[in-house]
Structures are given as C-alpha cells and as structure tokens.
Symmetry: C2
Subunit: 181 residues, 2 copies
C-alpha cells in the first residue's frame, strides 16, 4: 500500500484508459491494473484455463498407444507438458499474490512473465499446428482412421489450440503492460 495518497489534480488529468483503473496511479513506474495481468483474479482464471486445457491435451495424447511413432505427436506431448508446468507455476504465483495482496506489476516481473509466455505459447502453437498437419494428413489425405486413433489425435490437437488461445491474452497483456509503463 502506498503511503502517499493520490491527489486530485485537474490539470494533470490524463486521458482515461479504456478498461480497468480510472484512477491515475501515484507512482511513476506503477503500471495499470488490467484484469488478466499477473496478480489479478482474471489472470488466475486465465492460468487455470491454460493448465486444464494443456493437461487434457497431454493426457488425451499420451493415452494413445502409438503417439511415439510420430515426431509431431511426441513434440506436442513435450510442449503441452512444458505449458502445464509453466501455467501451474504462474497460477501458484497468482494465488500467492492474491492472498497476500501483493502487486506483481513491476517491470522486471512483467518482462520475465512476457518472455516465458511468449516462449511457451509459441512452442504450444507450433506443436498444435504440427499435430494438426499430421492429423489432417491421416484423416483426409491418407484416410487411415481404421488403424489410427483419429478421434484422440483430433481432440488433443484441438485442446492444444484452445490452450494457445488461453495463453495469448496473458502474453499480449503482459507485453502491453510492459510497453505502456
């Protein structure tokens, strides 16, 4: 909690942000508090969504017996494992920040989270795209669903794409907050 209370100053009124806090922060490097950023409940919801989706994708893909025969499917398992680990870590950090009431909006923390989100989301998206390429190849081009687990391959790929859709807001919000400080 800041000791110096924000003083109402009509001359310094900046243009109000579209969403989130309308009150100007009292500190120079304090960033705007947007739902979805680390340390907010929206951010925690995003992390939990990422964790569930990547865990489902991982377990569905790992439950097929023949996924190690295709490189792209092995890569998908590795990528969503990393994504699960990263999202779980950040979810724990978010829960800690929410319980203690501590702010996670320092530029150093934001840049660390931005880099981590950028790397994991890129890996997850690449793995999902590669698996989608193989799945569409098996289903449409080869038409060999009789000997392959097409349903599970499709489900795991879809879940990985959904997971990427859940990681992207975290990355973009972190990057935005890093740029607009």
């Amino acid at each position: 909690m800041s000791v110096s209370r924000p003083v109402v100053h009509p001359l310094e009124a900046p243009p109000p942000p579209p969403d989130g806090a309308a009150v100007a922060p009292p500190h120079r490097v304090r960033m705007k508090d947007v739902q979805g950023m680390p340390g907010t409940s929206g951010g925690l919801v995003l992390r939990v969504c990422q964790l569930i989706l990547s865990a489902v994708s991982l377990s569905v893909m790992a439950s097929t017996s023949d996924f190690p025969s295709v490189t792209a499917f092995r890569y998908l398992v590795a990528a969503v494992s990393l994504q699960s680990f990263w999202s779980l870590t950040l979810a724990v950090v978010d829960v800690y920040a929410l319980l203690v009431g501590r702010s996670l909006r320092s530029p150093r923390v934001a840049s660390l989270f931005t880099i981590g989100d950028g790397i994991t989301s890129t890996l997850t998206f690449a793995a999902a795209s590669a698996s989608a390429g193989i799945t569409v190849f098996i289903v449409n081009d080869l038409d060999r669903c009789d000997v392959n687990h097409c349903g599970r391959f499709t489900s795991a790929t879809f879940m990985a794409f959904m997971c990427w859709f859940a990681v992207s807001p975290s990355f973009l919000l972190n990057f935005w907050s890093l740029a607009s400080r």
Copy 2:
C-alpha cells in the same frame, strides 16, 4: 510600384525534413520513432526480407509436383501467398512514406498494421509448423524420401519459418508503439 508583389515570408515555408521525420512536430499522440516501425528504412528492410522469404518459400513449394496431395502443403502455399501480398503492400506504403517524408505513426494506422501483421504472422507460423510436421513425418518417421521431394519440402518450410522470424519484429514493434503512445 507594384502592390501585388509576392512577399517573402520565411516563417510560412519551412524546408522539408531531410531524412524521414527527424524534426517531429511536438504533438500529444506522436509516438516514438523506432527503426523497424512503418515509415522507417528499417521497416522497409523488414518488409523486403519478408517479401523475399515468403516468395522463395512459395515458389519452392509450388515447384514440387505433388504438393496438392497434402493439405498442410496446400495451406503453406496459401499462407505464404497471403504473406507475400501483405508484405508487398506494406513495402509499397513504406516506400511512399519514405519518399514523401510522411509519417505513418498515427494510432489508427499502427493498430491496422498490428492486426494485419498478427494475422499474417500467425497464419505463416501455423503453416510452417504444419509443413514441418509433415516433412519430419516423411523424412524421419516414414523414411520415404525416395518418392518425395524431401529437399524442397524442407527448404520451403525453412523459408516459411525465416519469413515468420522477419514478420515478428514488425508485429512486436507495432504492438509496442501502439501500447506506449
């Protein structure tokens, strides 16, 4: 004595700025001028790199006779075609802005370019990943390079990834300039 003599008025005719917009007039929504952003020579270099890489990827993949038999390769051709078109358009805009000395740093233009870069780079990256999945599947898992153009598939995929690496700075710089205005 002629009354209608043209009067020399030094204040009303400022010489055009020599390179780009080095003498930016003080304006409230003026953004910082970073090399790589639209309207700068660095941005033009990025656009030309994107155009060359996507055009090479397109022509290498289209030169194989059997690319239409795989969905991921057809998708790669479509994605790098769109990327070439987008990069060519933006390169022309950059050349115009550099020649005329016009600034492209309005928030509306930046958001338009950010959205376009985001869409095309995502499509290019997804196509490159899907093609990489199929290429690795053919080369490593099936080991059927005797009947496939493995070299050309690999080259086209590699060029598409390089193209994505050239698009990403444009997207990130545009997004950054949009956030930090």
